[in-house]
Amino acid sequence: MSANLSAIFYLMSGILFILALRGLSSPETSRQGNYFGIAGMMIAIIVTFLSVGNYGTGFIYVLVILFIGGSIGAFIAFRIPMTAMPELVAGFHSLVCLAAVFVAISAFLKPEAFNLGTTGNIKLASLIEMSLGAAIGAITFTGSIIAFLKLRGIMSGAPIIFKGQHLINLFLGLTIIFLIYYLCISQLPNIFWIIVGISFLIGVLLIIPIGGADMPVVISMLNSYSGWAAAGIGFTLENTALIITGALVGSSGAILSYIMCKGMNRSFFNVILGGWGATDQTSKSKNNDQKPVKNGNADDAAFLMKNASSVIIVPGYGMAVAQAQHALREMVDVLKKNGVKVSYAIHPVAGRMPGHMNVLLAEANVPYDEVFELEEINNDFANCDVAYVIGANDVTNPVAKSDPQSPIYGMPILDVEKSKSVLFVKRSLSPGYAGIDNDLFYRDNTLMLFADAKKMTEEIVKSL
């Protein structure tokens, strides 16, 4: 295959990858995006085969290997439970990184095959590119492994922090740079191996101080790093597909992790620099070390509710304090327009006055036939997709059923816990009138939306 033709095909595959990412940024086009990605990958692989043009035994082996790898991948993809997605991505990712390291090694061992000069006499630019590629690949490999272990729960999600961590990282980083320099002038294979080894270590050190909750950001960041590595190798191999895709993955991954940080109200730098954020985090979660909460934002809530078929609203005193009734009504209007069935569940003692919620909902013109009392609606929670708990707390606290010592023992409660997901809108983890902690905050199907009830609801309306 002529170099020109294959360059054009590589360009095509790069464009298909762009379209893939583009597609993935909106739910409507996401599946199509994935297909673009697949097409791009197929083109890249086939073109490579054609342009290498080596159809000997090696080729057969490659096909077999490809098939085996693919089968394993497919098997894992089908078997893994949906809840394990983030760790799966981390796991998969470690493989690519390792692959990048291997490619770099291979290029180092046999530069002639890649037109990079001869062993022991590799072109300077290529040497830099390939050692950088190998280093980044190695760092992201072990980093991904750690992320995987943390997410999988094999390793504790808590940040592991020790004194001098940052110094060590800095030192190792400088060492790598120095070694690359030294490699360039000496071309000694051992140095190359040392670089790879140290990089493995850095990957570990970089990720262990980051808490489990920040892992998605980390994965995206690692993704980005490996993109840059691929681009580096692309320059080495003078391959447009690798360059385009690497740059694409590199920048989009970085942006994505930035967006995710913003969404979670985290400092981007704290997260990617690992340990820096750690102090901040521990102080925050002091009062419930072992109990992490899932922290969501308006977009998540909007998404969940838009795609629900039924939503139950549970208002409480916080809605009254925030005067969120109008915003709430508006949110419900939008949901209903989207075909979602919405009802309001009013606990007999929600608020601070008998009928407190009723006054406010009537003010916001909520039709009476959407408002239900506890007995009427309590069984519906089991069949509802989302319970939107807005400024209520005690009235949902299951401790009322289980703990005779609790001050609210014996009070009937709204069984929001039974719904598929629970969204809790309140400003903090602080307790309500009864002064007791609410177990629901820490449940798996609960998403906490920390904000003023009115603000959050308005934001959800915007995202809907």
């Binding site: 290498v52 000997g56 790898g69 493989l95």
Partner: protein
Amino acid sequence: MEIDPFIFRLSIFILSIFVGYYVVWSVTPSLHTPLMSVTNAISSVIIVGAIIAALAGASDKIFEISSIFGYLAIILAAVNIFGGFLVTQRMLQMYKKKKK
């Protein structure tokens, strides 16, 4: 007046960064995970390098050490390609708009 191809590659590299930058800016948070997954899958284009590493040598020395690294790289990348795209596909199933 001949321009070094490196300059072109650099241009391409930089423009791709812009594209990558803009293309995900507007992503909805609910798609973060699938997007991450697809990005990961795409990053296995490194297989291009792996194939070259495995096959670029003379066809008689297919078990040279560098080729073996190539083979290993291929298998890893292959797992990721298939696994990545398929798992994304599965995730996206969840986002199918319910019928109205």
